[in-house]
């Protein structure tokens, strides 16, 4: 394993300490592992909290700031945070208007956030949960844990964050978040697996000419293994899988996210975006907004995900609203 690392055990703390040093406008509680805005909860505004296993940076810590999250609670690498952390984040984010939890749909995340929501509720904080489950590579049936939450998490956090700034009520912010999730679908392909400090070697071994299709963001293998093919063919399959599951509705354009998983150069992501744009153009789907870069990563995994979110004028307006976080910034 080659990483800039002091030791596997201190990895998360060391990285968070560096994050804290780099972002003086955020407050990082290294003990409890909670990242909040230095100025505290915004009076009257609904709070927005998210968290999950680490290793997906900038998600979630990098999305704390104006127009997006009020607090994030990073768990160990690929391990959901514990309820205590979530509760601490909720407390910090609550100004009395209640808190929306954005939770990616993984068994561990759901259980830990549920426990936390119960505890926070006992403390008198009104809590709503938005579950993100956008990954079409996973069959959503009673025979699975349901779809994973991946790229759409960014969209939910951005758009719900803007709704909270707009002054929406607790229920309305949660509702917008759920709308974004319901309108979003993602699909990911890996060229290599990422390596966790704990494991010290890649989550799966992939021959030099093979790719994993339908991977998640935790180093788990995908739905199937394939020979490497030209990008245009791989991307066509990704877009196909997404649109088969949900084609944009009438009056909808799409927000398109081409997301790097950590080890893929930006130029390749743009190349992938070019294919996405071409394919959508051929089908008459209009892209109203796009984002290309590393946002929801899986350590050093080479690969990318494509997320399409059917968006009406309101969602686009909320998407465009100013945001200022370490990982996403525009309009301010």
């Amino acid at each position: 394993m080659k990483k800039f690392l002091n030791s596997a055990d201190t990895y998360l703390t060391d990285a968070l300490a560096g994050f804290a040093a780099a972002h003086p406008d955020l407050a990082v509680d290294l003990e409890n592992r909670v990242v909040t805005r230095a100025r505290g909860a915004v009076p009257g505004k609904v709070g927005l909290v998210s968290g999950g296993g680490s290793g997906h940076e900038p998600l979630h810590t990098g999305f704390v700031g104006e127009g997006m999250l009020d607090a994030a609670c990073p768990g160990e690498v690929f391990t959901s945070p514990v309820p205590d952390q979530v509760v601490a984040a909720v407390r910090a984010a609550d100004s009395g208007a209640g808190v929306v939890l954005v939770v990616k749909n993984y068994t561990g995340d759901v259980m830990n956030f549920d426990l936390a929501a119960e505890l926070a509720g006992d403390e008198g904080v009104r809590v709503e949960t938005v579950l993100v489950d956008d990954d079409v590579a996973v069959q959503d049936s009673t025979f699975t844990a349901g779809r994973r939450g991946t790229g759409a998490t960014l969209l939910v956090e951005k758009i719900a964050g803007a709704a909270a700034v707009r002054g929406d009520s607790l229920e309305a912010v949660a509702e917008i978040g759920r709308r974004v999730n319901a309108a979003s679908r993602s699909f990911a392909v890996a060229l290599t697996a990422g390596t966790t400090p704990e494991a010290g070697r890649p989550g799966f071994d992939l021959p030099a000419d093979e790719i994993e299709v339908g991977v998640g963001i935790h180093g788990e293998p995908g739905r199937r293994r394939e020979k490497l093919r030209p990008a245009r063919e791989i991307v066509a399959d990704m877009v196909e899988a997404i649109l088969e599951d949900r084609a944009p509705g009438a009056g909808e354009e799409v927000i398109a996210l081409v997301n790097g998983l950590g080890g893929t150069p930006l130029s390749e992501l743009y190349l992938v975006y070019g294919e996405v744009a071409r394919l959508l153009g051929e089908r008459g789907v209009r892209i109203s907004r796009s984002l290309v870069g590393d946002y929801v990563t899986s350590l050093d995994m080479a690969g990318c995900s494509v997320t399409l979110c059917g968006a009406d004028a309101e969602l686009v307006e909320l998407w465009d609203a100013p945001v200022s976080t370490p990982g996403l910034r525009w309009g301010m």
Binding site: T79, T107, G108, T144, A145, T196, G203, F204, H218
Partner: protein
Amino acid sequence: MDIELARAWVRAVAVAVEKDRELLSDLDAAIGDGDHGGNLNRGFAAAAEAVAALQPGSVGEVLVKTGTTLVSKVGGASGPLYGSALRAAGKRLTGESADPGEVAAALAAGLEEVRRLGGAQPGDKTMVDAYAPAVEAFTEAAGRGAALAEAAQAAATAAEDGARATEPLQARKGRASYLGERSKGHEDPGAVSTAMIFRALADTAAAAG
């Protein structure tokens, strides 16, 4: 089971998962995200420390403390599942010692909690596949008047058999379910760690004589 034995059990589990940390993480890497060993090691190390510092008034307090520590240290799926199970079990053991029948009922309450929280059925390729037969064997042995060591021995063997039997199954819960067909051919890490936990109980009880 008395307070000391409960404490020794938690210590024994901590020793076992530290030793087999890599095995558990490797099993998890094959069909999950490779952190199960690290998760349990972090959790049980903290739990062993916590119960060592504790002055418990009952057997149950040891288990509740262990469960609470797991919930607040582990995260992931296994943290709340094992944590809540031990909390539920502990709440049933209010005395300074418990006979095998009481322990059986407590273990069954823990299993109930895992099934309630996780929604897994036997055959879904989860810890339930080791936990359920272990409870059954323990209860059966206790029912026919077996001592703790003997009941725990039966439970450990049943859990180990149950864990091995998860290998051919297709996962329907947890991360491994994302793999569909590809989850077949690997033992479930949580089932294997459940077997370790029961094996640690059997060993501890046997040593206590």
